[in-house]
Symmetry: C2
Subunit: 555 residues, 2 copies
């Protein structure tokens, strides 16, 4: 009973894609609702079976209800808090554990009828690795990450991140004492300064803000055309000279940054590999947009943007230069908690109790913001669904009903009512236009609000780890007297530990202040953009309706 | 599992109404969903049980789905086509049968939390009849109407209408031959002229259009205050002298008009008695609005507005005048098909084939318009539900999410972000305001579009009867030669029958042209009103968002 559906719009199947051509008004039988990606499998009256976009059909009331209940295929589902795992668990039970990568399903995928089969093309690209990196990516990655509770399976990215964290010494297992008790390595060149500014400790910012443009994706191929990949052009404003990188190069950069700075600076995950898109172009466009967002955020960070590995990525001169720099970066030993050895706060040492209080404050704030951001994503997701689903359908039906009435009136045989029937038709068409405006609007405004919040969700998801390192250091310093008494450390060691904890706290504070100033800018900007588009949207509708209104006349 | 619900807004129980006071955020258990009228029975955590407005709570997902599936308590449900009976059947299987009264549930009832018990107050008024009419309304009314298939039970009004139709001679059972074969009674004074105008046959319209204002409802009482009733003040523009009438007087007028003109002129039902309202004032306001609509439509009809009975209703001088006129009207014998004896078309007789063709055309048109009007009611009903239900809730949630984010940001401890947090709060509040605008808008525009279409649905529901009389007359005239051959009628009788059929056709055509010109005026007017309010609505939202936008700043 619940498998009948009405076709709302014409849909022409693309050859070789298992799609089914359907016509408006046709009744089809749904044979498989569980396809996903905005598609269902259906059979027409001639017995032909194939995929049809969900948005093009209206399933019977009963089927609709079942769909709603199962909440299938949200465009932003991956942006919602997942109570059964994922980032949210990180906060409670796994503060020192692994970072959790976001595995956001591509919103374009559902908005524009993401094809479950389409993404396999582009996704296949990511399975290829240059020979020199292939050995770094063994299947062991998956088993090693097996014990992490909060990790989302299937997200290859999350796994590789986990590896990185387990790999660097002093983190996770051995804790921050590696740094707290090490002999300070002080290379003058690599020193990272922290000043005390108006808002408190801040990083030393470069005079000119680095930025870059990610553009011009080009399809390349290797192995005589058997394998193809996408290469993006990245042009930094410093050199204005474009360099080319594939997704996997970004991934390499991400891992290097995570290794080197992850204990002190939250390094957000790259845009997920497993985005899907109806067309390869859409997939590429979406990935590029997110790579641009990620790169811009990295550029805005004074420590990251100034690092050798980041500069290499942006400005390498040739293949040889790239390979040399790459090898050097991979051999860098100042990784994990050892990054703190390079930090020099230009301020008095902090009392451990003050450190603890700051740490608590940041922990609370980032947790609260994480909740709030997830709420916005949930609500935005709901709104997106409504704006692209039932709402435009309703406006379309209003439009059709008015046009039908016009047609009936025209058939009256009564003279001189063409003004009314023309006006009714125009009003009907206006509501159909409004339907389209409503359906298209989320891409123009909600999209950016969602993207920004999604980015922040990713960023906030890194804080439990960063804060976890600090908490572990605080605990270690608290044990100081006990350790001295037990002859495990010397009194000078204890004093050094306290001083180093202070350095760690300055780092965390500088990082939080960096986060805050970026956050204020980002939310101001995205809200401005959102509201500007919303104003335009409502003004456009009002103008259209005003025009429709003008056609009616009471004599 | 499915009986838990969240309270969305505070609700204070009225004493003695079985209501339950609940607070926003409270969780309640639904103990009876089948109450109807926009109410559910629920139990709070203290074990207290009582009625709560459906709109004030959010039931769990599962319960919500069940509610949707059962489509319970639509605000406009009675305006939808009812496949199991009601007007729709009239067209197909019961063309000569009874008129079907609409039994529209009061939209205010659901919109403003109609109380299932509140309406018993006002409804009780209708059960009272002045002594002189009491005997006319026996319980037999209900049993007599028992055989009518399409009649909606429970609608007392439909029953009394049925009676009226069965009561007048020549209709339904005996058909139009009573007129076709009668001796023409020609009282010069009562003659109704039909002219041929630009658009075809038209009624003779009075020079000044009669109209009246229904206003100032007052509570009266009798039997030493034991029984109370509402009296409306009706002021016609002709005398400018107000007269008072109770609902039952309107009902008496309706029955007289139906008796006298029902075969020739569709007489729309009175607004239903069984409207419900949360408060008596709302109920009275709604009924008055609909009585006004009904009276205005009657005033606009040249034949009805000029009739003695209608003039009596509008302009009676005193109690004695009223009673005399009333008795006279009840004794009027020119009722049913005999109304055609008073009609004088000033044009050449029509050929029976032309009569048949016109009849077919009108039948088709009114059926098509009936379908179209019902489509608009269905779509409007859906839209009403969305605009007063999920949509404002969503805007409210967007508003709350933005305000929550503002609260979190305020807790950051970071200096100088009050501009952002103030702007976020303002934007959040703006979306809460939009939520309210959205929820209130249907009352400002959709309401009138629905009321007009509902009125037309009622009017169109009368056409099958009117057209049915004509079809029966056409069939009778077709039998003319056979009846002559069988010596049942004479040849002059046959000629007279054909002439009288022509008169009936002129009447139908004049009536259709009256209908068309009113329809064109009404739809122009209501669409103008609707679109004007829609424009205001979208402009208001745009202006509010523009203001919210202005508060954000990117330095």
């Amino acid at each position: 009973v619940c498998s009948q559906a009405q076709v709302l719009y014409d849909f022409a199947a693309e050859p070789g894609n298992n799609e089914l051509t359907v016509r408006e008004g046709e009744t089809i039988t749904i044979t498989n609702k569980g396809i996903g990606g905005g598609w269902i499998e259906a059979q027409n009256s001639r017995g032909e079976v194939g995929l049809v976009p969900e948005d093009y059909i209206e399933v019977s009331q009963k089927a609709l209800i079942m769909k709603r209940a199962s909440n299938g295929n949200d465009p932003w589902s991956a942006w919602n808090a997942d109570p059964s795992g994922g980032t949210s668990n990180n906060w409670a039970s796994n503060p020192e554990g692994t970072q959790t990568g976001k595995s956001a399903a591509d919103p374009w995928g559902n908005v524009s009828q993401g094809h479950p089969q389409a993404y396999q093309g582009p996704a296949a690209e990511d399975d290829e690795w240059d020979d020199e990196w292939d050995d770094m990516k063994s299947n062991a990655v998956y088993t090693e990450s097996g014990e992490a509770g909060g990790i989302q399976r299937g997200g290859m990215h999350a796994s590789s991140m986990k590896i990185s964290l387990n790999k660097f010494p002093g983190f996770s297992k051995s804790g921050p004492e590696l740094y707290l008790l090490c002999k300070q390595i002080a290379k003058g060149k690599d020193k990272l300064s922290i000043y005390v500014g108006e808002v408190g400790p801040v990083w030393s910012y470069p005079e000119t803000q680095i930025d870059c443009i990610v553009a011009d994706p080009k399809k390349g191929s290797k192995m005589y055309g058997l394998k193809s990949y996408i290469e993006y052009q990245i042009t930094p404003n410093t050199t204005n000279r474009p360099v080319n990188h594939r997704y996997k190069h970004f991934d390499w950069l991400y891992e290097r940054l995570l290794d080197k700075f992850g204990s002190a600076i939250p390094i957000p995950s790259l845009p997920d590999k497993q985005v899907t898109g109806r067309f390869e172009e859409e997939f590429i466009k979406m990935r590029m947009e997110r790579l641009q967002g990620w790169m811009s955020r990295m550029c805005r960070h004074p420590v990251i943007s100034g690092s050798d590995v980041f500069q290499l990525f942006l400005t390498y001169k040739d293949e040889k230069d790239w390979k040399t720099g790459k090898r050097k970066a991979e051999k860098d030993e100042t990784v994990g908690v050892m990054i703190f050895t390079t930090i020099e706060p230009e301020a008095a040492d902090l009392d451990p109790s003050e450190v603890e209080q700051k740490c608590e404050q940041f922990s609370k704030f980032t947790k609260a913001m994480d909740d709030s951001v997830k709420e916005i994503l949930t609500v935005g997701n709901e709104h997106w669904k409504r704006c692209t689903g039932p709402l435009p359908k309703e406006y379309q039906r209003i439009g059709k009903a008015l046009q039908n009435l016009s047609t009936v009136f025209t058939s009256s045989g009564y003279q001189g009512e063409s003004t009314l029937t023309d006006a009714l038709t125009a009003a009907g068409k206006t509501y159909e236009e409004i339907a389209q405006l409503v359906a298209e609007q989320p891409r123009k405004d909600l999209h950016f609000l969602m993207e920004t919040n999604n980015e922040y969700k990713g960023l906030l998801g890194c804080f439990p780890d960063t804060i976890g390192v600090h908490k572990a250091a605080i605990d270690k310093v608290k044990e100081g007297d006990k350790l001295v008494a037990a002859n495990k450390i010397t009194t000078p060691d204890k004093v050094a530990m306290s001083k180093r904890l202070s350095t760690m706290s300055y780092t965390l504070q500088a990082e939080m202040n960096h986060f805050h100033s970026n956050r204020i800018y980002d939310y101001n900007r995205v809200m401005q953009q959102y509201l500007e588009e919303q104003v335009k949207f409502y003004e456009t509708i009002a103008a259209k309706l005003k025009q429709a209104h003008g056609q009616f006349t009471t004599m």
